[in-house]
């Protein structure tokens, strides 16, 4: 029987959401726009991150952590969101991808310290329901859009969003 204590989340198929104010967006204005579903513990995501960083592209990052593949993926995603609450989402994003072998709590605190974050606030935020819900929102939007693995990229540059192969997409881009 259904567990009445568990809220039922809408997970039926839906188009990938348009990038909006709730997204983390950066990159070159006017460049091809891509929404990336990724996981900070995924080595393929780190490789794509490194490749796109050198190219003229505009990116929206969405969380797609899968904990049985990557046990620290949710913690890392929440750390990035907590850093974002102090204006440092992208700095934490880059710091996480730069060293995927160090994602335990002390490593997250160390990054927060290096970025000059308020550690008490960082610690409270990364464990908060609000941050968890923010990560879940991205994950659920990916599930509904049929994302099955990371990294998954959707290009929004022309008309309706198109799923693109990261390598093929990167080959079309100019150097930054």
């Amino acid at each position: 029987m259904p567990d009445a204590s568990t809220p039922v989340t809408e997970l039926r198929s839906a188009p990938v959401p348009e990038p909006g104010p709730g997204d983390h967006v950066r990159g070159v204005h006017g460049a091809p726009f891509v929404v990336e579903y990724a996981d900070f513990e995924c080595p393929f995501c780190a490789a794509v991150h490194g490749r796109l960083a050198a190219l003229a592209v505009r990116t929206a990052f969405r969380h797609f952590p899968v904990r049985s593949s990557h046990p620290r993926a949710w913690a890392a995603a929440c750390a990035a969101e907590a850093a974002g609450r102090q204006g440092c989402f992208w700095e934490m994003h880059d710091a996480l991808f730069a060293d995927q072998g160090r994602l335990d709590d002390p490593h997250l605190w160390s990054r927060a310290r290096t970025l000059g974050l308020d550690l008490d606030r960082f610690e409270a935020d990364r464990r908060s329901d609000e941050v968890l819900d923010r990560v879940r929102r991205d994950f659920h939007s990916g599930v509904r859009a049929g994302v099955v693995t990371t990294p998954t990229l959707f290009e929004f540059s022309a008309g309706s969003p198109q799923r693109v192969d990261p390598d093929v997409f990167a080959q079309r881009l100019s150097p930054r």
Partner: protein, 149 residues
Amino acid sequence: MIAAGTPAPDFTLKRADDTDFTRADLEGKTTVLVFYPFAFSPVCTDQLNLYEEVLSDLHARGATMYGVSCDATWSQTAFKESLGVTIEQLSDFEPKGGTCRAFGAYHPEGFPQRALVIVGPDCIVRWSYQAPSPDDLPGANLIFDALDA
């Protein structure tokens, strides 16, 4: 592939503890059977990892998910423990593929198709899906489309 509206066939699978899992175990609950080709293969790994992440959402709908393959129970248990997933595994090892054939989910090259079957509490198939190829991973959204229809 078995069609929606069809009564589930009689079948026998083995649980990890070597007890039988049969049609009678489908009665009274909604069951999601995930037929997958091979333990430890890349797409099957991604598939179980992804479905594990939405398992609480399946439970919230009163559904129970099982993985089904022709691997031996020992291999399935090693696979499950290696991934760290909780989805119970059911073995169609001997006679090899007997249950897969009964559900129309047996690949001609001797392994399960990548297929999903939802069976209602009345043992009637509510929905079935076979991936275009074993290399294609069906999104979890397809399962929720069927459960929430």
